[in-house]
Assembly symmetry: C2
Homo-oligomer: 441 residues x 2
Amino acid sequence: MRLSRYFLPTLKETPREAEIVSHRLMLRAGMIRQEAAGIYSWLPLGKRVLDKICTIIREEQDRSGAIEVLMPTLQPADLWIESGRYDAYGQEMLRITDRHDRPMLYGPTNEEMITAIFKSGVRSYKDLPLNLYHIQWKVRDEVRPRFGTMRSREFLMKDAYSFDLDAEAARRAYYRMFVAYLRTFSRMGLTSVPMKADTGPIGGDLSHEFIILADTGESEVFCDKAMLDLPIPSEDTDFSGDLADLVAPFTAPYAATDEMHDQAAFETAVPEERRVSARGIEVGHIFYFGTKYSAPMGAVVTGPDGKDVPVEMGSYGIGPSRLVPAIIEASHDDDGIIWPASVAPFDVGIINMRSGDEACNSACTSLEAQLQARGLDVLYDDTDARGGAKFAQMDLIGLPKQIIVGPKGLKNGEVEVKDRKTGERSLMSPDAAVNALAASQ
Amino acid sequence: MRLSRYFLPTLKETPREAEIVSHRLMLRAGMIRQEAAGIYSWLPLGKRVLDKICTIIREEQDRSGAIEVLMPTLQPADLWIESGRYDAYGQEMLRITDRHDRPMLYGPTNEEMITAIFKSGVRSYKDLPLNLYHIQWKVRDEVRPRFGTMRSREFLMKDAYSFDLDAEAARRAYYRMFVAYLRTFSRMGLTSVPMKADTGPIGGDLSHEFIILADTGESEVFCDKAMLDLPIPSEDTDFSGDLADLVAPFTAPYAATDEMHDQAAFETAVPEERRVSARGIEVGHIFYFGTKYSAPMGAVVTGPDGKDVPVEMGSYGIGPSRLVPAIIEASHDDDGIIWPASVAPFDVGIINMRSGDEACNSACTSLEAQLQARGLDVLYDDTDARGGAKFAQMDLIGLPKQIIVGPKGLKNGEVEVKDRKTGERSLMSPDAAVNALAASQ
């Protein structure tokens, strides 16, 4: 992509309304634009990050055996009256009346609708286990939306729903998502800590929040330091087996959000030098809630004994539009964002230090073509801005690697390759730069 | 994908509520489920088709130089009051009041919001041309939603918006989208006919609808038969040039929707034997409307002469959720859907005629693995349903190719390959089947 043809409205000033660093950086890097309180447009750079995050989520959901569907954003109120949550959900539910005065709502979550879908399509235990997920926009009409897309009113959510014949099978389904979540966050460069959590309005018996540690986190969390260094299950994990042994190391050590924290138990369980007390950001939440929805809604399957039983369910959420700022909170410096390679909007930025100079133009377009041919996404700054402004903007948007091409270097047959994270710079030939960057992918 | 682990709730009966064949087939093939009047869930098979359609749209938008963003579904009413459309839009606009009593709406289109985005990010003619598109759910609260996802209330739309300094540059932008649309529909196996159209509530000077011919089409259309056989611009088209010469063959012959039709002009322009009068389905609509939104909203750029001018705009829509039924209307038979290869949910279906039989199981799993290794998407019917039911279901869901594996054939070292469209069946070795199917991609 040529910057001169791109839409990258970066800001030099720090927007006053942004309270946390990720919100400031997303606005400054031209990733998002606020359209109403807690409602954002995703500009081209932000959209690319959001897509990369969704791709990782999808790959790990698919790997675990979940199947993708897409439910609508609007839901009839009837469904929620049936489950008993219509009145209970309160003002966070955005209630809508259509032109025929029918009560509708903008879905804040989909337990009811997926239960209805299941009920209409599955009759027998032979069709289980089943896990259906979708990635769709949702609305929670927060009284005070804040922190940019970290806590927005319209937000993107991956929500998965598992259906099983009995509690034991439901536990296995829960563990599949548990492992899928560990892998998902790890692939985004995040260290996530599963913590026992309150089940809240979803209800149920068993729940974990996946928390990443960041100074700006919304809640206080407590865990055994050992949690931070556990190896993540590999991509060869056999999801058809029981994953209890893979999950156990993540549930054995102490780890709890402030709602569930028990200081005495913490001190008993964890030696002082391993006690971590920090701020955390919730990036995923999984629930096992049994027959909470299936029983009132009559979602039953015929078991092997010919008797109908309400299906055992769980639900599993990840917020991609919240992960974008969460990753930035975990990975930035004073100059801007530092994207982990797997979610970077482009892999490489090329800076032409003298646009218009024939040698510089030619070297840059050749580098661009070669890198693209090697499968890399390239943003080429071909504008006539000053070098200083180009450096600052490229650092701000945080692409993992930069190639700086100037007339002096080219006379020596060299370009400069910069690593955004370490700041390390190396001079090398353009061909060597292409090889080095392709190899680092 | 193994059918035994998939979620494919096909129906044997024809749903009573469905008035047109595509709606019946989408329900019967387990592609969609109605959640409220005109509001649908996309089940796994439908979601795959929708994704393939969106991928083609994206590729052609990107090829033409358009840049992807993502605007929210909810919009503040203010924007529409500013443009003057808030009152004019009538009851089709789904109006919403949030918890703070602020007037919002579920976006039916995005001219206002994209103009605001443009205004906040672009100042100079040097940043033009610019075309921003997104693919997002929209709502039009139709008084009588019908025909399934052909005319639903919540529908997916790709809408692109072009911004240019003057009318001549805007015409070039319009032609880029014109060519992108021809290519998009052609890649989906559709013959689309661009027809001069009324600009309706979007307003403006120039507009084309892209219509595909189908007996169940909603409107009557008239065109020169020559329009149906024109070659489509190639993927090597240079979108940075002026595409007037590529567009001219598509705008010269007579072609008009009933709103724009002039029978006398038709008869003068087209010899009787070439006059086509048929039913059509609108699958795309493009508009050039100049400064209709930029002027009232103050979206100006500074021109080369240093003076501010309101930017010239166009908008360009394709409905992916409507294309799914449109393709089915154009491609089906009495047994079910016949997917064009480019949008098929899976490339190949494998039918195991005797699940449980060791030779059949082994041949099927080997075929599945080999086809997947060659990059094909495979749906393997490994269930214990009867052969007849398997045939009927596989025909219903319309995958382009089927491989039928039975114990008798295997004794002769043969499987049967069936072409869904022609019905042609050929016996061959499993290896030959893999090679033939991989080659046909």
